[in-house]
Amino acid sequence: MKTNLEKIFKSQAEASHAWQQDFRLAGLKSFETQGLPTTKQEDWKYTSVKSLAETEFKLFEGAQEEASIKEDTLIQEEHYQLTLVGGIYQPKLSKLEGLPKGVQLLPLSQALQSEGDFLKEHLAKSLDARQRPFVALNEAFLNEGLFLKIEDHVVLDKAIEFCHVALSNGLASMSHPRILISLGKNAQATFIEHYTSVAGTQASWTNVASEFLLAEGSLLHHVRLQEESEANFYLNSSMTTLDQDARFNSFTFDLGAGLNRQEIIASIEAPGAHVALKGLYLARDRQHTDFQTLIHHRKPYGTSQELFKGILSDRAHGVFNGQIIVDPHAQKTASELTNKNLMLSREAEVDTKPLLKIFADDVKCSHGATIGRLDEDQLFYFQSRGIDSHLAKHLLTYAFAAELLSDLPWESLTAPLTRKLKSCLNLKDEVA
């Protein structure tokens, strides 16, 4: 990967503003100084990027027949949509019209031209690339992604769906989408990220970096679905900062990619903010899925709830590293962190480490992790009623996961996501 990086870097079209060119250069420098992470580093202990490092990636060029992509990739027709294919913005696959007043939703490439000042002020201000080589690399390739800015008190009527289709033609390709979302005071929005890929092509690599800035009293519902092909690499770092009484309600649903690594950080920077992080990861074959989450309570009266569940089969490997940090003056914090893993095969592995670092004394925090198998008594109960053990296993697995799909922000999301889960478990649709 490293050999041709500079060449690819130079092949990028000139940035719109000088500061953007500097920004990219600084990113590249930072990446080069940091180097690729090794398993000697604590937070990369279980995740090797060797195969990623050994693949030669290039930036995707050219378009794909759009209609064929549209067919099976988009979740919901009625959302506002912004679609990238191979990292390139697709106006025909996007629906940006009809946005209410006070809402700016743009492909990042446009925002870099028209919203330069705002971006200069906010981009990369909360997500620090210094300890994150892949975020640095994302900066080096700053070009495309999504920009969403909602003015104070505006409540969006429909969800926004960001659809990223990974695609390689011939050579393996990489995409470095960048997302910046800024919600004004008391603004409300639902943001859906959907990562998918076109089957039957070369391995590709998606390397996302996101910043969600939530002003006082704002509310962001967030859903991320990652279902790229098992040949692909998927990396994501996202940082959410919450001002007073802001709420971040997030659900990450991870099914795809051979290597998935997501770092999800939420920082409570003023009193009374609330973070709910939910996640569901399914890994099979030799998939490797790694979640690094951090909820940082910097100010008092914050609440957070985190529940991640994993289902690991075959020879899959899961990693969950969840941290809650409560700073000394973040009194009256209430926080819960839970990770539960269901192991469907003897060869599957999981490494889970939920961790509380509490420096305040008047807080209510709890954490726990479980690693379990399907319950033999439950399986027998099914069988004793004539239901074969195969179906019984799928049903119990579904039951384990379904809890996470029960209170999604938009009812209309429940059905498609439930369908995804069922089809992953080879269950028919009518199963309840």
């Binding site: 109960y381 099914f382 004793s384 009623r385 004539g386 119990l396 039951a399 009518e430 309840a432």
Partner: protein, 250 residues
């Protein structure tokens, strides 16, 4: 013969629990098994229904003349063996309604009958629920989750009524039921009595057998049937306990 158990020996975790058990039940008959705690009643029920962890070391079990022990648990259920559990299992996340429909269709399929659709199922299950005076709201709840002890037992009999098995094994279905419920559940069970169905009713109490009047009562002690008699045996046991039989058998 519906069920023939011959010199059955079975172990759990290497420990022998059933020690040469013989029992035969004809179609149309109801047999009761009584016996002290730990004598092996539930073990027998588990062995018959094919639960893992029970090893049959010798003897045989014929169900309608065929070797029952070679079948998987689900195959036994499809062949018509039903166990109402002493401790019904909770299955969070799976609705009672889905569970019963999947079960009914699995069994219908095995019988060569077409699957029931959602509407037919609902009508059928509601009819059975009415029989057992169960609120339809139990359909939407997760299987046995948070059910009271008595509700769980009633739910077992509901499944039995729905699946119409050939051999019904009821393991202490009366325990946990209040007086009124016992009557309702017993009536439900009685409504299933038929010339081509057999029942094996495990209980500690005479009261159940006053409602579900058995053709035979057997006393199981230390893995063997040590005494059998007619329904009057229940009165004697209630009065005198098990010691006199143990002495007789010794």
């Amino acid at each position: 013969m519906m069920l023939e158990i011959k010199k059955l020996h079975a172990t759990v975790d290497g420990k022998e629990i059933l020690k040469g058990l013989n029992l035969s039940i004809k179609a149309g008959e109801v047999h009761a098994i009584m016996g002290p705690n730990g004598s092996g009643k539930s073990t027998l029920a588990s062995v018959l229904s094919g639960r893992d962890g029970y090893e049959v070391t010798s003897g045989e079990v014929l169900f309608e003349g065929k070797n029952l022990l070679s079948l998987q648990a689900e195959e036994r259920a499809r062949a018509g063996v039903f166990l109402a559990f002493q401790y019904p299992i909770e299955i969070p996340g799976v609705t009672n309604s889905y569970f019963m429909k999947a079960s009914l269709n699995a069994i219908r399929q095995a019988r060569g009958e077409p699957e029931v659709d959602a509407m037919d199922f609902l009508n059928l299950v509601k009819e059975k629920m009415a029989l057992l005076k169960m609120d339809p709201k139990f359909l939407k709840r997760a299987v046995n989750e948070g059910f009271s002890g008595g509700e769980k037992k009633r739910n077992e009999v509901l499944q039995m009524a729905l699946l119409e098995p050939k051999l019904c094994i009821l393991d202490e279905t009366d325990s946990g039921l209040d007086i009124d419920s016992l009557k309702i559940v017993a009536e439900g069970v009685n409504s299933l009595r038929s010339p081509d169905r057999a029942m094996l009713v495990i209980t500690h109490y005479k009261r159940l057998l006053e409602y579900i009047v058995p053709d035979r009562i057997h006393v199981l002690q230390d893995g063997r049937i040590i005494h059998s008699g007619t329904k009057e045996l229940a009165d004697q046991l209630e009065e005198k306990g098990y010691d006199w039989i143990k002495e007789q058998a010794a």
